[in-house]
Symmetry: C2
Subunit: 218 residues, 2 copies
C-alpha cells in the first residue's frame, strides 16, 4: 500500500514536470511570437493553454484521489498537498505565457515592442524559460542544489525587469504611451512567471525535506 502510494506520488510529480516543460515551451514560443511577429505561433500558444488547464485539473483530481484512497500522513501527505499547489503554479505560468502571446496577436502585424527592446525581451523570455525548465528538473529529480540556483536566476530576472523600467522612465522615451503600457505588462507577466518557477522549487523542497513547522495540533 505504501509502495503504491509512493509510486503514485512519483507519477504525479513526473506529470507535473512534463507540464512544467510544456509551459516552458509555451513561454519560449510566446516571446518568439512577440519579438519576431509570428502570428501563427502566438495563436498556437493561446490555443494550447486549454490543454495545460485540463492537465492541471487532471493532476489535482489524481492528487485528491491519492488522499482519499491512501490517506497519507507526514511526508507523503505533504507531497500530495505540494502537488496540488504546484499544479496551480504551472497552470498560472501557462496563463502568463498566453498573455504574452495575446499581446503579440493584439498588435500584429505591428511590432508590439519597439525594435531596440527586442534583445531585452529575448533575454527576459530566455531567462523565464530556463527557470521553468529548471523547475521541471527539480520536480523530476528533487535536486536541492538546482532549486537553490533558481533563486540566483530570479535575481537575474529582477535585474532585467529593473532594466525595462529604467528604459521606460528615461525622459528620452520616444515610443509613446501605448508601447510603454505594453512593455510594462509584458515585463510584469514575465516576472510573475519567474516567481512561480521559484515557488515550485521551494514547495518541492519543502515537501521533500520538510523545513516548515509540523501541522498544528487542532
Amino acid at each position: 500500500m505504501r509502495d503504491a502510494l509512493r509510486l503514485q506520488l512519483t507519477d504525479l510529480t513526473d506529470r507535473l514536470a512534463e507540464t512544467a516543460h510544456d509551459v516552458a515551451q509555451a513561454m519560449a514560443d510566446a516571446t518568439t511570437s512577440l519579438v519576431d511577429r509570428r502570428l501563427r505561433l502566438a495563436e498556437q500558444v493561446i490555443a494550447g493553454d486549454a490543454t495545460i488547464d485540463a492537465r492541471r485539473d487532471e493532476i489535482e483530481q489524481r492528487a485528491v484521489a491519492v488522499l482519499a484512497l491512501h490517506q497519507p500522513v507526514t511526508t507523503d501527505l505533504r507531497r500530495a498537498v505540494a502537488v496540488i499547489h504546484i499544479a496551480d503554479d504551472i497552470e498560472r505560468m501557462g496563463d502568463l505565457a498566453r498573455h504574452v502571446a495575446e499581446a503579440a496577436r493584439r498588435r500584429h502585424p505591428a511590432q508590439a515592442v519597439p525594435e531596440e527592446f527586442r534583445p531585452l525581451l529575448r533575454r527576459l523570455g530566455r531567462t523565464a524559460t530556463d527557470m521553468a525548465l529548471k523547475a521541471a528538473e527539480v520536480l523530476r529529480t528533487g535536486n536541492v542544489l538546482l532549486a537553490a540556483e533558481l533563486d540566483g536566476d530570479d535575481d537575474e530576472m529582477d535585474r532585467l525587469h529593473a532594466e525595462v523600467f529604467t528604459v521606460l522612465m528615461d525622459p528620452g522615451w520616444q515610443h509613446g504611451v501605448e508601447a510603454a503600457v505594453d512593455l510594462t505588462l509584458l515585463a510584469r507577466f514575465l516576472e510573475r512567471y519567474a516567481d512561480h518557477a521559484v515557488a515550485i522549487a521551494k514547495r518541492m523542497i519543502h515537501a521533500v525535506v520538510g523545513g516548515g513547522p509540523d501541522p498544528l495540533p487542532i
Copy 2:
C-alpha cells in the same frame, strides 16, 4: 468523529472569511492611501501583509492536520482541499493590496495618479473591496446566489479596467510615461485582486455542491 471533522472545517472557513475581511480592509486602505496620499496608511497596509501571510500558513497547516487526523472523503475532502486553495487566493489578494500601497509610498509626497483619475481609482478600489467582502460572506454562509453575483461584479471591474486603458491610449494623454506605467500596474493589481475574489466564490461553491467530475480512479 464526523461531527468533529465538520466543526473543524467550518472553523477553517470562518477563519478564511475573517482573513478575506482583512484583505478587503487592506485594499480599501491601500487605495485610500494612494488617492489621498496618506503615507502612514500605506505603511500600515505594507506592514500588515506579514500578518495575512502568517494567517494563510496557519490555516493551511490546520487543513493539512484535518487531512491527517480525519482522513476525510468525498465532500469533506473536497472542502479541505478548497480551504488550501482559498487560503492561497486570499494571501495573494493581500500581496496585491500591498503592491497598491507600495505604489502610494513610492511616489509620496507626489500624487501617484493624476488628479483626474482619482475618482476612477476610487471606484476600482471600492468595487474590488466590495467583491472581497462578498467573497467573505460566501465563505461564511455558502450562499450560492451571492457567489453568482460576484460574476456580475467582475464585469463591472472589467469595465472600469477597460476605462483605464481607454484613457491611457488617448492621444491626448498629458501625464507622461511614468504616470502611465503606474496606472497600468495599479489597474492590473486591482483586476487580479478581483479575479481572486471570484475564484474564492467558485471554489467554495464547487466544494459545497460539487459540480466537477469526481476524482479520477487511479
